[in-house]
């Protein structure tokens, strides 16, 4: 099951660049929340702060509080533990190139010392079914490399890989921006199905996509969160002038 996320006074820097300023936000459990905004507005940095990937860059710094369920991720836990509870799908599909499809999905568990092979088979099958890829790859699981799949299939493989470690939250950083419309539609269907089991946060450049998949939408601009509300409200009757300008295409 998914858990809610509470963000209090979150600030982030890359070197001297203050990329996120005083973000406060409540992301509801088992819903899809979309983050929109022009390039460089900090939305990717924001999701990377939710699983402590931001700090993997040596010049990056974070202050503030992020609660994933009851867990204060910057106080109570180490990054490795958090990343198992908060899965992530990246903009460009990034399967492990030397691993088979099966090993890609099993990687998160295997590399954490999981050795129960029968259970692993089941988890791999379930994860691939959840990511709607099973029927396309079930005959080549151990024969083909993850890199041999098409771009859209690779992205669904990456989703399966993230689901296999059984996270509570799934972060998706522009998961469909490198994909064609058919693959994009598949990913969106998938997001719709997955929200019953996970809390999903999706960063997107594509406003129609946000409108299609998300119940809640946040608008980021220049490192600040301008507005956060129900998707319907953001797209039909935004409170802030800047949000309105952005969604009506006056800038960005």
């Amino acid at each position: 099951m998914g858990v809610g996320i509470e963000v209090i006074n979150l600030n982030a820097w890359y070197g001297t660049n203050h990329t996120l300023q005083d973000i406060n936000l409540n992301i509801p459990a088992n819903h899809v929340t979309a983050l929109i905004g022009p390039s460089g507005c900090g939305k990717s940095t924001f999701v990377r702060c939710l699983n402590r990937m931001h700090e993997t860059n040596p010049i990056a710094r974070v202050t503030g509080t992020v609660l994933i369920g009851d867990l204060d991720i910057y106080e109570d836990a180490n990054p490795v533990e958090i990343r198992r509870r908060v899965g992530m799908v990246f903009q460009r599909p990034n399967p492990f190139p030397t691993m088979s499809i099966y090993d890609n999905v099993a990687a998160g568990l295997k590399l954490n010392g999981y050795r129960n092979h029968r259970a692993l088979d089941e988890i791999v099958e379930k994860s691939l079914k959840n990511s709607a890829l099973w029927d396309e790859v079930k005959d080549d699981l151990k024969k083909k490399s993850g890199a041999s799949l098409s771009g859209g299939q690779q992205q669904r493989l990456c989703i399966a890989r993230a689901l296999a470690v059984d996270p509570e939250v799934l972060l998706m950083d522009e998961p469909a921006s490198a994909l064609d419309p058919v693959s994009t539609a598949k990913i969106e269907d998938l997001i719709f199905q997955l929200k019953s089991q996970y809390t999903i946060v999706i960063v997107t450049h594509n406003m129609q996509q946000a409108a299609r998949v998300a119940e809640k939408t946040g608008f980021f601009l220049n490192g600040r969160m301008v507005e956060f509300d129900s998707t319907h409200k953001i797209f039909t009757n935004p409170s802030d002038k800047r949000t309105e300008d952005y969604i009506t295409g006056r800038f960005g």
């Binding site: 490795v80 990343r83 590399l111 041999s148 890989r161």
Partner: protein, 282 residues
């Protein structure tokens, strides 16, 4: 008109590329053919099964030198490969941008340029003098140290070629960093790392100078790492400088065997390590 000029330019460039390739490959092929011409006639069963015999006696072989070279190269690889790969992993994954890493990289590059005879003297003073005698082990140390810079720098380069997205993917799954480095990054770069190891191996396999003060050579069998041991390059060196025609022929045969053994071991490692590669793996 323009199209014709382009076709012509294209043809010239292709021609030059082919010509350069031939120029690069030709000496190698020429050496190999010459070795076969000079050495193949002296190859016999005895060459592989018998030890050298005293001057004046006909026959004899290099069995001890072949085995000796194998032992020396095993010791060298056991030292050079793990140290070199660990160093490369440090440079690419942990020390990026640090002063220590820059110092190590610089040292490795200098070490790569040190003449091999100096490496022999170093191993002599480090191992032979304290032990009080020449030994196979000291020869292996000299060759092993020579392997380190090549293995280290190619490992680093190959690891740097692994896209950062692959590292991020592993970290985002909650895989601890050390595990991600070993199981994901190094594994992704492994074909290149293996090539680096084989380059280093092939290079030291033919080294003579570092062995003169260390392995020393031996006319008979030596099964112990603490004793002087024969090696193909040493044996070739001694035989080639001798005034005897019979020894000259053996030196040619030894050279041929040395090259074939190097090619064979490189091919074997490549075959063994490429078996697990999957369809479509990049």
């Amino acid at each position: 008109m323009r199209a014709r000029i382009r076709t012509l330019t294209d043809g010239t460039a292709t021609g030059l590329a082919v010509l350069s390739t031939i120029l690069v490959v030709a000496p190698l092929v020429a050496i190999f053919i010459y070795l076969i011409y000079k050495g193949a006639s002296s190859l016999s069963w005895a060459f592989f099964t018998r030890n050298p015999v005293p001057v004046g006696e006909m026959g004899g072989g290099m069995a001890n030198a072949i085995v000796g070279s194998a032992i020396l190269l095993t010791v060298a690889s056991l030292i050079g490969v793990p140290v070199g790969i660990s160093g490369g992993i440090f440079l690419a994954e942990y020390g990026r941008g640090t002063k220590l890493a820059n110092a190590i990289r610089f040292t490795a590059d200098v070490l790569n340029g040190v003449p091999s005879i100096v490496m022999g003297i170093a191993a002599y003073s480090l191992v032979v003098v304290p032990q009080g005698h020449f030994s196979a082990f000291s020869g292996g140390v000299a060759l092993g140290i020579m392997m380190i810079p090549t293995v280290c720098r190619t490992t680093e380069e190959m690891l740097l070629m692994v896209p950062n997205a692959v590292r991020e993917a592993a970290l985002a799954l909650g895989v601890p960093n050390w595990r991600s480095v070993l199981a994901i990054t190094v594994r992704t770069a492994s074909p290149g790392i293996i090539t680096g190891c084989m380059l280093a191996f092939a290079r030291v396999a033919g080294e003579t100078a570092p062995l003169i003060f260390t392995a020393f050579g031996n006319v008979g069998w030596s099964g112990k790492l603490s004793e002087p041991i024969a090696a193909l390059p040493l044996q070739i060196y001694v035989y080639a400088l001798s005034p005897y025609d019979d020894w000259h022929r053996l030196a040619w045969a030894g050279s041929l065997v040395l090259i074939v053994l190097i090619v064979f071991s490189v091919a074997l490692v490549r075959y063994v390590t490429s078996r697990g590669v999957l369809k479509g793996a990049s």
